[in-house]
């Protein structure tokens, strides 16, 4: 599922603000299609942010996060950091993206 993410990371006063948009259906498993069949749950469970091999932030998501999720968080870092954001969903799909902190 390459290309599912857009990530921006910007440093100010020693704090890096990361903003990410992920394209994903975030299906709850509670909805039904037109024929009354349950649409199976399909949602991102974990998003991990890593800098230099060290995890700086982890998001655990349930089905209550909106479709095409937005996530923003902050960590103490610096310009030029290489930040990797990676997600995994309940059906085993995943994607990762590396960005340079501006």
């Amino acid at each position: 599922m390459a290309g599912s993410m857009r990530v921006r990371a910007k440093e100010k006063d020693g704090v890096v603000t990361v903003k990410a948009l992920i394209t994903h259906p975030m299906e709850t498993g509670l909805r039904k299609d037109g024929d009354g069949n349950v649409i199976p749950a399909h949602f991102i469970q974990e998003v991990t942010a890593t800098v230099g091999g060290e995890v700086v932030f982890t998001a655990n998501w349930g089905t209550g996060v909106a479709k095409n999720p937005y996530l923003s968080f902050k960590y103490k870092g610096s310009k030029g950091d290489l930040l990797t954001l990676a997600w995994t969903d309940n059906q085993g799909h995943s994607d990762a993206l590396e960005v340079e902190v501006k």
Binding site: F57, T58, N60, V65, Y70, K74, Y75, G77
Partner: protein, 145 residues
């Protein structure tokens, strides 16, 4: 799912992960909890203390419950986890965030809301649990169906 089973499971996981990482596995039981009171007990381990140091930024009225922007920040120190709970959702726990010593205690996302509900932010800081609450009115529900 009672509290004892959850705690035992938690202890087991804790032992497994103690050497490797501070991050626990995806908390399946908490995400499957249908009753927000029990869920908050489960996450907090006890009744969380209401705290003014937690700020929840959210619209007072959300026109579309499918996409409700929620931000949580706090001035508490040593924050290890932030959880966002929508009390009236069929599955109340939307998300939990594991923070590290490098983190700044701030998180922003967009959640689904079935109807008007209290949004509870649970913050674990220095081994204690704190909570902040804010009501969001929803005019069109967003959990499908």
């Amino acid at each position: 799912m009672d509290r004892r089973t959850f705690l035992t499971a938690g202890l087991g996981l804790g032992t497994l992960f103690v050497a490797g990482s501070v991050h626990a596995a995806w908390p399946k039981d908490a995400f499957e909890a249908q009753e927000s009171g029990a869920l908050i007990d489960m996450l907090a381990g006890s009744k969380p203390a209401p705290s003014d140091a937690i700020t929840i930024t959210a619209p007072d009225i959300a026109e579309n419950g499918a996409v409700v922007p929620i931000s949580v920040s706090t001035t508490l120190e040593d924050v290890t986890r932030i959880s966002i709970v929508v009390e009236q959702n069929p599955l109340s726990l939307t998300s939990t965030y594991d923070l590290t010593p490098d983190s700044v205690p701030y998180v922003s996302t967009r959640v689904k809301m079935l109807k008007t509900s209290n949004v509870v932010a649970l913050v674990e800081a220095g081994g204690k649990s704190y909570s902040g609450v804010r009501e969001v009115k929803v005019t069109i529900g967003g959990c499908g169906g």
